[in-house]
Assembly symmetry: C2
Homo-oligomer: 351 residues x 2
Amino acid sequence: MRLDLSVDVAELTAAIVDIESVSGNEKALADAVEEALRALPHLTVVRDGDSVVARTDLGRAERVILAGHLDTVPLNGNLPSRVEGDRLYGCGTSDMKSGVAVQLKLAHGLAAPSRDVTYVFYDCEEIEAARNGLKRLVETRPELLAGDFAVLMEPTGGLIEGGCQGTVRVEVTARGERAHSARAWMGVNAIHGAGEILERLRAYTPARPVVDGLEYHEGLNAVFVRGGVAGNVIPDECVVTVNYRYAPDKSEEQAVAYLREFFDGFEVEVTDASSGARPGLDAPAARAFVAATGAEVRAKLGWTDVARFDALGVPAVNYGPGEPTLAHTRDEHVEIPLIGEAERRLRAWLG
Amino acid sequence: MRLDLSVDVAELTAAIVDIESVSGNEKALADAVEEALRALPHLTVVRDGDSVVARTDLGRAERVILAGHLDTVPLNGNLPSRVEGDRLYGCGTSDMKSGVAVQLKLAHGLAAPSRDVTYVFYDCEEIEAARNGLKRLVETRPELLAGDFAVLMEPTGGLIEGGCQGTVRVEVTARGERAHSARAWMGVNAIHGAGEILERLRAYTPARPVVDGLEYHEGLNAVFVRGGVAGNVIPDECVVTVNYRYAPDKSEEQAVAYLREFFDGFEVEVTDASSGARPGLDAPAARAFVAATGAEVRAKLGWTDVARFDALGVPAVNYGPGEPTLAHTRDEHVEIPLIGEAERRLRAWLG
């Protein structure tokens, strides 16, 4: 399969969507992207697994990164793509092959951008983090990801979503002592003890820190609870799994320390943690990006791969033509005019 | 296998213990009991499944019932029985073949008791209630169980344990609304909502009603809790399973009504209920029994089959030579002198 990068961005999006690339099956699309980019003399292309990185090397004062993932969630009877009016329907149209098409159009058209550009196309974003292609590049080829600012082309409906919040999951355990439930006072009920954990959660007021000018909105929530031995036994253990979403003014260590203090008196075990990312909108490249796109800027509350750039010291935002609420749905589609608009705005920034 | 009812009660206990009768496998023992009882001209014997009922019919002013189950929990390397000093070891020695041996000795020895006696030997007490032999007799042959007072020969260490508490299990459900945990305020956290259920349970003070002169001790406890959808989703349901152990001054309906009021504002679904039994110690036959045994009397807090007699209008107590804390253990044994003592005391009552 060959990609013709000279066609219009909507047509290119449809061509990419029609190369099925459910996570783990990105090879055909990565091959096509690699081949199309190698034909462009102003780019240096590196292939790593099913990720492709292409860079200009013009000695510009700044380097920016445009990144997008090649994979999609599993098909849901929504391929091949189809056009209806102003909309392109199909798996990956919003999340995020329309963004990938914009990257490819810019890579093709901008032989001499105002800033050096690194185009990153990576695999396995939609599945477990251990297989994430950007994670692999961060760990094994960090020099390919060096830069002053990054744009991750996840669907944002044309808004700029800055940084992302961090997330920690902890298991908070209340302990007791078993006894027959007909003689409950011989034991200590751990589920009743966990009532104190839930009381603290109910009393929690979400912090709304402003970071680099964007207001975040934290959250501290029980997402699982389990406890019980048998219908006639006073339970000796109750575990509440708590998810803390915290603003990027805190490190992972600070977030965990906050939780240990919050649940003082209970066992607290961290099961899962991903640090957040500052929006970094005070960097010159970022200011120019906001000015050029003219898009509304707001804080990103969910966690995204921008945090991987932040971990490398590269401020990053989410910006893409896809519609986030349609991601992962059978009815996934993208508004065709928004794809062209994203291409024009990024071209204005980099042209 | 033949049982010789003329031997001493400890020897008879060992003989019964050595006829293995794990629940569902009582046939050999029921056959032996039936055959031995049919040889006694003063008894009318009825066989029902693997239960055996034998009755005197002397036209006495009162009729009392001595009941015991023939089955045991699964073996645990503890057969055949063995004597060590004053103890008889083996599966079922305490729970409750020593009690069954006392029944058989009385059935054999008391051709003309002071009260008419119904001896009940039943199957499948140690497993799910649906297969319980006494339950079956209550439902299909209630006339066989008519009487003024019943003694269930469960292990009590020689104490009289009067009546039993009732038990109800309910599922109390808190509901919410799902949302992504990065935007928790878009949903309603059902696990946090269940905190109110646990708060009420923690504030509960157990009632200790006195019924027919015995003090009971109620209990209201969470025995299970479950809730949660995914690690990044605000949960929309949390279910707390609550076990209420209530004194026999309340009916099952009253207990359920109490729970519905206690958990007002939440869904309450009854999953399991067994009503209690009043000790009925004011009945003349009961008073004579207490006087004859001279044993300490206390309330039974756990649920036992005495409740099945109560449901027929027959007051009932637990009284047996076995040691309750040894029931269902590998080390199960019975103090041999206590078996003889139980026999003597019941003989004094009925002789």
